[in-house]
């Protein structure tokens, strides 16, 4: 009999031996090496073992009886250290074995990120039974903390298992959302929510800097300085093929051991199978393709002809209660079309990717029942043209219903507040409706809901529709854009009501119809989220218009204008010199005094922006936000310092206001004016907030404009002290930030809610005024920063302004 030696008793070699013995039990005499001190078991079931849902005995695939029956010489717990191709022997730790044919099936080795402390006891990877048992032992300690590095398939299964065993688990994931290779952001968001519901803490965008500890692991430190206590650290950041033996034996090795379609390596007597191989440039990390390879390998060893051909793959996460499925391809390729279905009330998200007449990818979350059907369509390349319209509803459905846009409102609990002005909750409105109020007017009359500012009208109508069903005719409210069915006002209210704190959360929970919005809704949404959750929401520059993303105004030729802040219109020789120097150095074609009392450098090249900012910063100049939906300028006049009519220090007050308000983001731009007397040289009466100083104090007025519409301000209040004038201004701006529709200037918003409504909150209700000011300050603790300083300092951010590559610099041939 010929001698077959197998290195590695894993999933792939186990399956190959089964096929071999089934077809011809007498063909080979087999010696099986395994570094692990045991034979073949179902490695993918280690997760249920970790969580306690299964025992090791239940996942063994080949027991002693099987090895005996097939006369396999088992050398378990013995590493193979060398392959000697000249003598055709395999060298194990306990001696040599001759081979006629050899199978390398060494699988993969976990990747270990090269951080300090990675060798401390308590830092483990997740690959085999020993790792699993080490984790179970660590979880035995009550109240212990585990940090799992890596939010992919393996890391999340480890996290879920450890959590079920009672550990406090934190998952660190480098990318912006979990399982980014299999899931898109919306599915990643739902998964995150499900994990959090299980008590697992997830930190995305988290980069590990070091692992701390003396004799054992104590803590993990992140790049941003966060320190997490840890009794156990699980590294699950990826795997790489275990190729060392093959490399030492001078077989052809790329990223894996290179094999042909017969699973043969560059040596005709040596085959390889499983995760250690590379075929046609591809590596493998799931068992389905390995089983196909095993079948081909068995045939090759018996001299039969077959060829391995890779197929599409699908992924499931083995965490009880997290139903997700992903298959096929989401990247690359022209002519792609997405179909998205969201059912926010049931936490369902489905996305299909279609190319031409074929389904090429599918992500399902929450309801994965149709996963295998979609997978079949993908794998078989079925022509889906006839079912295109109904494909997303699955195989059982060919009727054509669509997702219910009302489900978000339907899902609100009765105590959710619908009308902020009058404090009316959903329950009270449904009560009124069932009590006989069948339309908006009747609901208004009985509950007062939407009877004041009216911005919740859409929501009240939706409650009517949810409650009355077909009996209620919905008046057509203007949705934000084609991505959703909500008005701006409803969106703002639902973000607060449902505490939605990220864009994927909003897309999913409020039923967005596109994968990630459009140029109309994204900037609005980004503003609403940062205004409502300044501490929790991470501002997204990619959801901002070009000017706010590049901190400068784009010009018609693609260059930019740069306007430094001049507080209250004041400047000095040092600043003017720096501006003059910058204008010269960067060859600025036009320098202009603006209508906002400062200087504009027009025509700066994008690549030069970070450098010109650095120069201006070093003279103490910061961004003037001449490009922002935020605080622009505070115009002042010379006031008591110089003017013979001045009654108060208008310049000083203007500077103070600008220093408090600068950096804040608002629904549209905000401009202020402070004039020293009613002659009004600072044009305060046509600003968003205008203050006129008089002998008795300050006249604070709001909601003026002098752009496309010309509108005089309306008096908010007369106050005696400068401090109170400042308080009123800040409270007004915050009320505007919290309530106005994106791209409504204050005058438009005040016209909608009524000046009385504003006065009641800002002027009369002192508690509310104080609360508004406090919330503004919280927000400013994040946003009162010079955007020019950050990119100017950080190389990564700075490089965004430069070309990615220059292919014109090709060397001459």
């Amino acid at each position: 009999m010929k001698k077959l030696v197998v290195i590695g008793a894993g999933m792939a070699s186990g399956r190959a031996l089964e096929h071999l013995f089934e077809t011809d039990p007498e063909a080979y005499e087999v010696t099986l090496f395994n570094a692990e001190a045991r034979g073949n078991y179902n490695r993918i079931m280690l997760s249920p073992v970790l969580s306690g849902e299964k025992s090791y005995a239940e996942i063994v695939t080949h027991d002693e009886a099987w090895y005996r029956a097939n006369k396999v010489t088992c050398r378990f717990g013995e590493h193979v250290v060398k392959i000697d191709r000249d003598r055709k022997v395999v060298v194990g730790e306990a001696g040599e074995v001759l081979y006629d044919k050899l199978i390398i099936a060494t699988g993969s080795a976990p990747f270990i990120i090269p951080v300090e402390g990675r060798e401390l006891p308590g830092v483990i990877t997740y690959r085999d039974l020993d790792d699993t048992e080490a984790m179970i032992a660590a979880a035995g300690q009550p109240g212990a903390n585990a940090v799992v590095i890596g939010g992919g398939l393996l890391g999340l299964e480890a996290a879920a298992g450890l959590r079920l065993r009672g550990m406090n688990v934190t998952v660190l994931h480098l990318m912006g959302h979990l399982m980014e290779r299999q899931l898109d952001e919306s599915a990643g968001y739902l998964l995150l929510k499900d994990l959090e519901r299980r008590g697992i803490k997830v930190m995305t965008g988290a980069s590990t800097k070091a692992i701390l500890g003396k004799d054992k692991v104590d803590a993990v430190v992140l790049e941003d300085g966060t320190v997490l206590d840890a009794d156990l650290v699980v590294m699950a950041v990826g795997i790489r093929p275990e190729t060392r033996l093959a490399t030492d034996a001078h077989l052809e090795v790329g990223r894996g051991v290179v094999v042909d379609a017969q699973m043969q390596t560059s040596d005709p007597d040596i085959h390889a199978v499983g995760e250690c191989v590379e075929f046609d440039g591809a590596l493998f990390g799931l068992v389905a393709p390995l089983y196909d390879q095993a079948k081909v390998l068995a045939k090759s060893l018996l001299g039969e002809v077959d060829a391995y051909a890779p197929k599409e793959l699908s992924t499931k996460l083995k965490v009880t209660g997290c139903d997700l499925f992903s298959a096929g391809d989401f990247a690359e390729g022209p002519e792609r079309e997405d179909i998205v279905l969201r059912d926010p009330s049931r936490g369902i998200y489905k996305r299909l990717v279609i190319e031409g007449d074929r389904l090429v990818g599918a992500v399902l979350y929450g309801d994965t029942a149709d996963g295998s059907w979609y997978f079949g369509l993908i794998r078989d390349g079925t022509d889906i043209d006839d079912m295109r319209e109904t494909l997303i509803f699955g195989p059982g459905f060919q009727g054509g219903a669509s997702a219910d846009p009302l489900s978000a409102v339907a899902a609100l609990p009765p105590e959710a507040e619908i009308c902020g002005c009058n404090g009316v909750c959903k329950g009270k409105i449904t009560e009124a409706i069932t009590g006989g109020a069948k339309d908006l007017t009747a609901v208004r009359a009985t509950t007062k809901a939407s009877a004041s500012c009216g911005t919740c009208t859409g929501l009240v109508e939706q409650v009517l529709q949810v409650t009355l069903g077909g009996d209620f005719q919905m008046p057509g409210a203007q949705p934000i854009c084609a991505c959703c069915d909500l008005t701006h006002e409803d969106l703002r209210r639902l973000i607060k009501l449902k505490a939605l704190k990220s864009q994927p959360a909003v897309w999913q929970e409020l039923g967005w119809k596109t994968p990630n919005g459009c140029h109309v809704c994204r900037p609005a949404l980004n503003f609403y989220l940062l205004a409502d959750w300044p501490l929790e929401y991470q501002d997204d520059p990619m959801s901002r218009f070009v000017n706010e993303r590049n901190h400068a105004n784009i010009q018609k030729d693609g260059t930019f204008s740069v306007v430094p802040r001049m507080w209250g219109g004041l400047t000095n020789p040092n600043e003017l010199r720096a501006i003059a120097d910058a204008a010269e150095k960067y060859k600025v074609p036009t320098v202009k005094v603006t209508g906002g009392q400062r200087i504009d450098l027009l025509g700066v090249r994008k690549e030069d922006l970070p450098a010109i900012w650095t120069d201006l910063n070093s003279a103490g100049l910061v961004s003037g936000h001449a490009y922002s939906k935020g605080l622009r300028t505070v115009k002042t006049c010379v006031g008591t310092d110089h003017c013979r009519f001045g009654t108060q220090d208008s310049t000083g007050l203007g500077v103070k206001l600008e220093q408090i308000l600068w950096g804040s983001w608002t629904p549209h731009k905000v401009k202020l004016g402070v004039s020293g007397c009613p002659r009004n040289c600072a044009e305060s009466t046509c600003k968003d907030v205008g203050i006129i100083c008089v002998d008795s104090g300050y006249q604070v007025s709001v909601a003026g404009a002098a752009g496309m519409e010309l509108k005089e301000t309306e008096r908010l209040a007369d106050v005696a002290s400068e401090a109170e004038a400042i308080d009123l201004t800040v409270a007004f701006v915050q009320l505007y930030r919290e309530n106005a529709k994106y791209l409504d200037r204050p005058y438009k918003w005040v016209a909608k809610v009524g000046l009385d409504w504003v006065k009641a909150r800002v002027v009369d209700d002192l508690d509310e005024r104080a609360a508004l000011i406090e919330r503004f300050e919280v927000s400013q603790s994040i946003y009162r920063k010079d955007p020019w300083a950050v990119p100017a300092r950080e190389a990564g951010e700075r490089s965004r302004y430069a070309p990615l590559a220059d292919l014109t610099l090709e060397a001459a041939e």
Partner: protein, 110 residues
């Protein structure tokens, strides 16, 4: 085709773009998903707006100057606007962005 390695995909912000200077003019490389990129001409056919400064959504970009929307896959203007931007082959492999050097007028691959 001759694929040339341009940069790491992480060098392009997610739903953002970076410019590559070529002999044919500026080409904008868009990153529409973690590992999905498209390369198109950076110049808007309307009035020359720099598309790399536009807002990226789905597999489309909105021009920063007057809000024309282009498909990054076909290069066609969407909706009522008429126009087309040139598209170039691009792909991501092992976290690297690869562009078709032949199409970009580069004779030797580095």
């Amino acid at each position: 085709m001759s694929w040339i390695d341009i940069a790491a995909v992480a060098d392009i912000p997610l739903r953002g773009a970076r410019v590559v200077k070529t002999k044919l003019g500026c080409v904008a490389v868009f990153r529409t998903d973690e590992a999905e990129v498209y390369a198109v001409s950076d110049t808007c056919p309307h009035k020359g707006g720099p598309l790399s400064d536009g807002l990226v959504h789905d597999r489309k970009v909105t021009c920063p100057l007057h809000n024309w929307v282009f498909s990054l896959e076909t290069g066609e203007a969407q909706g009522a606007d008429e126009g087309r931007i040139e598209t170039f082959a691009a792909r991501v492999e092992n976290g690297r962005v690869l562009l078709d050097g032949t199409a970009l007028g580069r004779r030797t691959a580095a």
